[in-house]
């Protein structure tokens, strides 16, 4: 019953899940669109639109059965034709589709509710990739997705199978979803994103409230039921407030300082990069940028503790804070004080705060850091030009499979594409043995600490706040907050 009012940090560029990687877009869109798989609370992929799958002995042929009777918001039944069309578009144009489709030979319908994917070689992460909705294979009606290209779908084509259907997008005002009465929920107890989904609200309203203070005040004043991205420093205060519930995000995000592997003083000089890494103590930056102890972890592993991908390989270099050692190492690496251009944006306070601390630490170790402060859009433009920067600051959301981490992409600014990386990456994707994959990943992580294409800054557990009237939210969010099985 009623309307859920969700204060977002801004507006998503589009809800088209296949092409967009914005977290905000997924937070909204996961109510509208569904993929074949999703994650349960342990971050393992479980069927959603799929009923189940069989994999051939050689691991190359995957046959997926689809649930029957699932309806799109336009009233049509979901069939294999829709799924094949959706997967094909995702494979060709989707942001993360290429990762899988590099290895895909064909996708075809083998029945009204069955499809078959043929791989060129076994590919381990396929199910994780299918389950990750962000930039992932959301299922659209074939009529819409056929002929659609890279261009995001326009709002009138937002037709999915989810518990809520898209209703309206008022620029600057809100995105509104309404309950889809013909929704057919998957079976089973709700667990993570898996299991039964019940739409309790008449409508969900995602209202952009860019100013964080306003999000907090608005929730306290009762104008919003839920508000995202709240600064760590307010945690204690908000947790003590009986009018506010705090909800931690289970998957931490982490800052990354990319180094330019293509041009400039850092391009090939791994020793110098290691010297930079050596100079930095990550803890003070986390203390300052995030605040309370519980909300950050000085963790060098790219995936958090408790996750299957957790590994300490290479992490002894993570946070040394050894100014003197770094100075010596830099000198040995031939560094003579030339300026190092470090770009950071002020749009995310934690980027800026961290960069300030790092700059101080690096200066102490004798580095000549030229901190360049831009707004996010400018930074994005500049970072694509190799001659404009040496380091830049960004952050990364939680991903269920390391293959999805941006540094794995050779084209990502920084352009890390050494032969060592290429070799390990090939092995990593080729294997579908979980244990072997974890092992290869730890080697990759070690390589990252050695070649330093990027520098992790530590895990940040963000949290959201909600009105105590909301029932069913649970203690923590998995990746994106969702509002099926939630009521007021």
């Amino acid at each position: 019953e009623g309307v859920l009012r969700y204060a977002t940090v801004g507006e998503p560029p589009t809800l088209d899940q296949q092409v967009v990687t914005s977290d905000l877009a997924t937070t909204i869109a996961q109510h509208v669109f569904e993929g074949l798989y999703t994650f349960d609370s342990s971050n393992s992929p479980v069927p959603l639109l799929a009923a189940g799958e069989t994999i051939s002995e050689d691991g190359k042929t995957i046959t997926i059965a689809l649930r029957e009777g699932v309806k799109f918001h336009n009233g049509q039944d979901m069939t294999s034709a829709d799924v094949v069309a959706s997967l094909k578009r995702w494979g060709e144009f989707g942001s993360r589709g290429g990762l899988l489709f590099e290895h895909v030979e064909s996708v075809e319908a083998t029945g009204d509710h069955e499809i078959r994917i043929t791989l060129s070689a076994p590919f381990g992460p396929w199910k994780n990739l299918m389950a990750f909705l962000n930039g992932g294979p959301a299922i659209y009606p074939a009529s819409i997705v056929e002929g659609a290209g890279k261009e995001p779908l326009s709002p009138e084509n937002y037709i999915g199978t989810g518990p809520y259907s898209f209703n309206a997008w008022e620029a600057n005002r809100y995105v509104e979803l309404v309950r889809f009465d013909d929704y057919v929920s998957p079976e089973g107890e709700a667990d993570g994103y898996g299991g039964e989904r019940v739409a309790e609200f008449d409508a969900l309203r995602f209202i952009p409230v860019p100013d964080v203070g306003t999000r907090v005040s608005g929730l306290r004043a009762g104008d919003y039921d839920y508000a995202e991205s709240i600064p760590g420093d307010l945690f204690a205060e908000l947790e003590g407030d009986p009018n506010v519930n705090t909800i931690l995000n289970g998957g931490p995000l982490f800052g990354l300082v990319f180094m330019n592997s293509s041009a400039g003083p850092l391009a090939e000089n791994y020793a110098l990069r290691r010297a930079i890494q050596q100079a930095i103590d990550k803890v003070p930056a986390l203390q300052i940028a995030i605040g309370p102890e519980g909300l950050w972890r000085s963790n060098g592993s790219f995936l958090p503790e408790g996750n299957v991908w957790y590994t300490e390989a290479g992490t002894e270099a993570f946070s040394q804070g050894d100014a003197e050692g770094a100075r010596a190492a830099a000198e040995a690496a031939g560094y003579t004080g030339e300026p190092i251009k470090f770009m950071v944006s002020t749009n995310y306070p934690f980027h800026y705060d961290t960069a300030i601390v790092y700059t101080k630490q690096l200066a102490q170790a004798g580095f000549n850091i030229d901190l360049q402060v831009y707004d996010w859009a400018t930074l994005i433009e500049k970072r694509s030009q190799p001659d404009q920067w040496d380091m830049f600051f960004t952050h990364h959301g939680f991903v269920p499979d390391p293959i999805l981490i941006s540094v794995m992409n050779d084209n990502y600014p920084g352009w890390w594409a050494t032969p060592e990386k290429a070799e390990l990456k090939a092995a990593f994707t080729a294997s579908s043995d979980p244990a072997e994959r974890v092992d290869i990943w730890s080697q990759i992580q070690e390589l990252i600490y050695e070649q330093v294409p990027t520098m992790k800054t530590g895990d940040v557990y963000t949290y959201n706040i909600a009105s105590p009237e909301l029932d069913g939210l649970g203690e923590a969010t998995l990746i994106w907050p969702h509002f099926w099985n939630v009521s007021k």
């Binding site: 203070g213 803890v283 300052i288 605040g291 002020t346 800026y352 300030i356």
Partner: protein, 283 residues
């Protein structure tokens, strides 16, 4: 010459304006001597001493970097003066010159003032925003952008005032004496613009602070690390309930200083040549 006497006459019997003047003198002193007075380095980060309450040794408490707010406030006085003076200088040098020349050389004025008209149509804050995104966030750029924003109004105002002065009989008299353009502009007209310009400057000075704070707030002003009162407010604004002192002190400082500048400007306005009263904007 008449300076001291005229300052005295401007402020005679205006208690508030006098208090304002005293406050501004404090600000100026703080700006000049901040490195000597400040107990801490305003950039010194201390993760342990984050968000400490006001007390000893952190008179105004510390911010989320653990930096000493009192020291930052002292250095903030420096930014206040810098932004104010910078904006005034930019506005007067560009806008003022355009306005004066346009009024004096009528034909040139037709062209230039059309341009000013066009610029006037651009809302000041939006223009500042667009300009700021064009440029890197830096103290210099902020000053220039704010100065440019006030340049258009200044040009308008100076245009009007110069036009009035150009019609004065003593200008005719100078022409009859054979004085050239430069002499008339700078020897006969400009000195008569000094006091209205001072008034105008005081308002620009005051409102530039608010404009700068607004830019800081929108994330397009001074680099956030720079200790300015506007930055102190906008960078720490989420702590309004958690660490109220972080907003109260710099807020009070801005308000007090802008208020003082306004009081001083008002006092000066009341005492200037009535010819120009209409022209001078509250900006």
């Amino acid at each position: 010459m008449m300076a001291v006497a005229s300052i005295r006459s401007v402020f005679a019997g205006r208690t508030f304006a006098q208090i304002g003047l005293v406050w501004l003198a404090f600000v100026a002193l703080a700006a000049i001597f901040s490195p000597l007075i400040a107990p801490f380095d305003p950039y010194e980060i201390d993760p342990i001493a984050r968000l400490t309450e006001p007390g000893w040794p952190h008179l105004f408490g510390t911010d989320h970097f653990g930096r000493d707010s009192f020291s930052r406030a002292l250095y903030g006085a420096r930014m206040t003066v810098l932004i104010g003076l910078g904006a005034v200088i930019v506005a007067l040098l560009t806008g003022g010159l355009v306005g004066m020349l346009s009024a004096y050389f009528t034909r040139l004025g037709h062209v230039l003032m059309r341009g000013v008209d066009v610029l006037m149509a651009f809302p000041a804050l939006l223009m500042a925003l667009v300009l700021m995104t064009l440029l890197e966030r830096s103290v210099m750029n902020t000053i220039i952008v704010i100065g440019v924003v006030y340049a258009t109004t200044t040009a308008r105002i100076l245009f009007g005032m110069t036009l009035k002065l150009k019609g004065e009989v003593f200008v005719d008299a100078a022409v009859c004496s054979g004085a050239g353009h430069a002499s008339i502009l700078f020897r006969h007209i400009l000195p008569n613009l000094v006091s209205p310009l001072l008034v105008q400057a005081s308002f620009i000075f005051a409102f530039a602070q608010l404009q700068a704070a607004a830019l800081d707030f929108l994330g397009l002003g001074l680099p956030p690390e720079v200790p300015s009162w506007g930055n102190m407010l906008s960078e720490e604004r989420i702590y309004v309930t958690r660490a109220p002192w972080l907003l109260i002190f710099p807020g009070a400082l801005i308000i007090l200083s802008v208020f003082s500048m306004n009081l001083v400007g008002d006092a000066m306005r009341d005492s200037i040549d009535p010819r120009f009263k209409d022209d001078i904007a509250g900006v």
